[in-house]
Symmetry: C2
Subunit: 409 residues, 2 copies
């Protein structure tokens, strides 16, 4: 018998029929003798409906009241799922975030969980009840309703699992696990049985939108084993855990990629201390997020070339800012390219194996793909290439590292 | 400056446009310097939508979970109204029933208010905020969400007014006050400026569905001045208060009537102690509500005729039960009539004036209307007549007592 916290997102509970299907699935887990805490989101479409209502009464709805409004979405789902369970003869009890004391700070619309009082839930579990908890919402110290922001239900589930010392936090979603890369790009992409928190973080931030980054961080911090499963199909999904010293570790876990990147370069900037801050400060102030940053000293000179990437939507604004700033600094020229993409190899195995990067560069070169930028971290190598090479590059790398086969020693 | 608790029902907040209109109206009251606590219901249609969802996942939804579900209706309204107020530059803050500590018993779906902690609301009023509270809902001692049953928002408003010692509890509705009778039946029907709690109770229980009976009882018990006003039109509405010794009191305040009544009679029942209980016990056990009860000893015999009325929907079931029970008791015959109505004169003035009933009977006789049953209380005379005489009888009585004129001395 194990204690699982299971989270079902909006699509999984998107209609009465779906809710019935989730109830049936919970009954199957119960039949195996497990204790279950179930975290649910608002029915899909509900949050947008509520936002629409808010927009129709106020141009900029007050954040506190928006939380009161949005919190009704999950509250409806917990009631409906509990009813469906009880109709199947399964003892169940629902709790809103405030009821189960998911204590947050008071940053409405994007609150962070500070503490959870698991007493009430533990008492219900001891009484053999399934406990159904509203995701995404909590309460601040003054008793105000707060929400964690979109996707916060994953975080609720992980936080509950940590507070209850659950054996696993299981995130049910519309994909059946984490893949070596996007199967729409590489049909041979393989579901990973395991992946480490660090790898998952790199994958998530690089665009594999299976899990909320905050939930993964939280799970890593509190060492909550996290499993991604399909709501609609049987299977073991992907387990996300701490690196296990004993386990044979793949060199590369997967290939992530980001479309929609853009690249900007200031050429011939006088090479002086603080140049990065002078160039990027105004960009940050305009609320533009900068991703990769590369700086090279130009050969034989006292000037430097400075390159960074931003989201493609921010390209035009970033370009204008950079032209002004770099001009003031006496840079020779500002150039940019809004049609680039980033491809990244991710794997904790890189730590102990040299030569991964060179295999990567070689593979891309063999396909005639020109690398425009390189950036590395302990468990990741990212390259920027022209947009048109995205699929070719990802497929070539997937082949080169034999990711279609389970485990390369 | 006065403190008003204002309640707006589902129709008044039935769309974003209506909510905006309510916000505008609140702003006008604020401009007059009043302190306001606003109680709102779910948007019209919302409760039915939620009940539909519940019905689609469970045949008999668990009462506790039904309350969790239904409570989302008012929660959405308080948020939307608060947003609309803030968008107009008016400080406002919303509270759910549990947040403002409307403590109830744990009778889910029909809970009763036990206590209200007004501290939080008073603090907001002192800070010049409009306080928006969800009607219809509360919390039991264990922190479970409860609801007061349909129409409970009126009760919430009155209970809040009592707890806060408000100057008036103002119920905004789709009628502009309490009338001497239904204006659809008597076009000359007149809005009453004042009516007593007792009269209002008799009117309400007799079918003038302006206010929830429980709310009126509550207001009477705690001496909360209650005013019925229109959400859609200007006007002073009707004030419902304790009888004022000094005020000139009309003989008759109004004429109420109940369609949809049915009458059953057991003829020739042996006249023995406990006959009423023997006949009506099984009817009550079948959850059929009995309204008027009349018993007569048949002339010169040891048998009695026993008549009572029920709602027309219960007629067939009541008839079957009565046939069995009366048969067992040796009654001569059971007869019934499902096409009768009840007309009632209501007025505290009756207490000190004789002759009201006889004027009533004389008026009906002059119109050729046969009275089938009579029942009286201290401030009411009710007669049962054939359905077809309803309009004729009500109009004749309205004329006879000059109810179209304000105040008959």
């Amino acid at each position: 018998m194990a204690l699982f916290v299971q989270k079902f997102g909006g699509t999984s509970v998107g209609s009465p029929e779906r809710i019935q299907a989730v109830a049936d699935q919970i009954i199957r887990y119960r039949a195996q003798g497990h204790q279950l805490v179930v975290v649910v989101s608002a029915m899909s479409g509900e949050t947008d409906r509520l936002l629409g209502l808010a927009a129709s009464v106020a141009e900029r709805p007050a954040p506190r009241e928006l939380d009161v409004l949005l919190a009704t979405g999950e509250q409806a789902t917990i009631a409906l799922l509990s009813m469906a369970l009880q109709a199947r003869g399964c003892q169940a009890r629902s709790y809103t975030g405030p009821q189960v004391q998911i204590l947050t700070d008071n940053a409405h619309n994007k609150a962070r969980i500070k503490a959870i009082d698991g007493q009430r839930v533990m008492a219900d579990l001891a009484a053999e009840r399934v406990v159904v908890v509203a995701g995404f919402q909590g309460v601040d110290e003054s008793g105000n309703i707060t929400t964690l922001g979109r996707g916060g239900s994953d975080t609720t589930a992980v936080a509950l699992a940590a507070a209850l010392k659950a054996d696993e936090c299981q995130i049910f979603t519309d994909v059946d696990g984490v893949y070596t890369t996007d199967p729409r790009v590489v049909p041979q992409a393989r579901r990973l049985a395991r992946v480490t928190f660090e790898e998952m973080l790199e994958m998530a931030s690089l665009g594999s939108k299976v899990l909320q980054i905050r939930a993964v961080e939280f799970a890593g911090k509190y060492n909550v084993p996290l499993r991604v499963l399909s709501s609609f199909a049987e299977g073991d999904g992907t387990l996300i855990t701490y690196e296990d010293e004993g386990m044979e570790q793949a060199l590369i876990s997967g290939i992530a990629f980001n479309r929609d990147e853009a690249k900007l370069t200031a050429l011939g900037v006088p090479d002086q201390p603080g140049v990065a801050h002078l160039l990027l400060g105004p960009v940050a102030e305009a609320n533009i997020e900068v991703d990769m940053i590369v700086q090279n000293v130009a050969p034989g000179g006292d000037t430097t070339d400075f390159t960074f990437t931003v989201h493609r939507n921010d390209y035009q604004r970033a370009l204008e800012i950079l032209q002004t700033v770099a001009g003031d600094m006496g840079a020779r020229e500002v150039v940019g390219d809004p049609k680039i993409v980033k491809i990244s190899l991710v794997g904790v195995g890189m730590r102990s194996h040299a030569g991964i990067a060179s295999t990567m560069f070689q593979t891309l070169a063999a396909e005639g793909i020109n690398i425009r930028m390189i950036s590395t971290s302990e468990i990741k190598v990212s390259v920027v290439v022209d947009e048109k090479y995205l699929e070719l590059g990802v497929r070539a790398l997937h082949d080169a590292f034999h990711l279609e086969q389970p485990m390369t020693a």
